[in-house]
Symmetry: C2
Subunit: 228 residues, 2 copies
């Protein structure tokens, strides 16, 4: 059976991608990076999703990106709230974590090379993407080329592919695809600034995009929200 | 003053590179990744080198690559010993750590972007390089291009450069350059399989290359070796 490493945050996108990777016929090796993010509850979501999808293995790897800071998700900037939804993506928000997806893909690459996986799945989208430069297809292509120059497997001809099946989907289309695959979105976590009890705030950029997408699909978002 | 992040392992190469980065007029932000390597004593060397070079800051970041294994440096393969020195570099040895330099450069990139450093220095060499594919100049160029596509600073025109001043030097030339800059090589650690007391083994591929280089320079290596 072919093998895939899936970067699984526990969010809506990566959960959908894990379901897609499974439907593509892969044995799933899930990788979650505990980067000491503010929204640590997503680690619990990742565990639940991994269990629900019956992955072969789930590695949760600590890497404390608070050592550097530079982002609202790692503590030293405020999460942007209640901005007009049409302005999301016009500029790079405070939730940008320097080099996050490069780091995550690099670690996934180490995992993939070790277990001889053919593919790394990542849940980035260049459509509903909050303006992050590391969600664009030109980055993914450049990463894949670089990775195959720098690894033993790549040099030996066993190239590793980066699969980003959501890259041209907006979040509405992502949810529709996930529902077709039976994804249980009640397990997922999206909010950047959850309450102490783990409720989504409902007003950060991430909640706003999620709520809009569920409204577009025409179903209720199964997770609970605080009053914003 | 311009800023540089230096990937500092505590080894001979990265120590020389840190001295070069300083002589280039940079304020030095040293980054050491504690990847749970077998030769953990090099972390102590990194601290001593950082102190000796009076760096602005030194971050030692844990990232447990034993979670994946796949290398003699992270525990599940044996370190190669006593191979003919002329055969080093002919094939990729067991000490290859999957995607190590990609991961290290990615984390250095996060640090560099956060502190607005212009340059990341790394001590790789494509000459005395043990056959690692992630020490080659084509990898470094591909990484730099990818990094500037994927970061806020890159997209905004503040590109970050990867400097590898040893990439075309053999280890003899590296030591000569370091000595000109006043590097104290007694602080450095090179061995992949040190004794319990921290003595270099003298017969792993890394020791063999180091000893040969000091012999070529015509001076005694100032570190202590066990009887091999």
């Amino acid at each position: 059976m072919k093998r895939a490493v899936v970067l699984l945050s526990g969010g809506l996108d990566s959960t959908t991608v894990a379901a897609i990777a499974k439907s593509d016929g892969n044995e799933i090796f899930a990788l979650t990076i505990d980067y000491n993010q503010r929204h640590r509850i997503e680690l619990e979501s990742a565990k639940q999703v991994a269990t629900a999808l019956e992955v072969k293995n789930h590695v949760i790897l600590p890497l404390n990106l608070r050592s550097f800071g530079g982002s609202s998700l790692t503590g030293d900037l405020d999460v942007t709230k209640n901005i007009p939804i049409e302005s999301i993506g016009n500029s790079i928000p405070t939730s940008y974590v320097p080099a996050r997806n490069i780091i995550f893909l690099s670690i996934a690459l180490a995992y993939a090379e070790t277990i001889r996986a053919e593919t790394i799945y990542i849940g980035v989208s260049a459509i509903d993407y909050s303006g992050y430069p590391d969600c664009r297809p030109e980055f993914l292509t450049a990463f894949e080329n670089m990775a195959n120059l720098a690894t033993k497997s790549g040099v030996e001809g066993n190239k590793i592919s980066i699969a980003a099946p959501l890259v041209y989907l907006d979040k509405t289309e992502t949810i529709k695809q996930g529902l077709l695959l039976g994804v249980d979105y009640s397990l997922t976590h999206t909010c950047y600034d959850p309450t102490d009890k783990g409720l989504a705030c409902g007003c950060c950029e991430s909640c706003l995009l999620r709520l809009k997408a569920f409204a577009n699909v025409g179903i209720n978002d199964p997770i609970k929200y605080a009053n914003c």
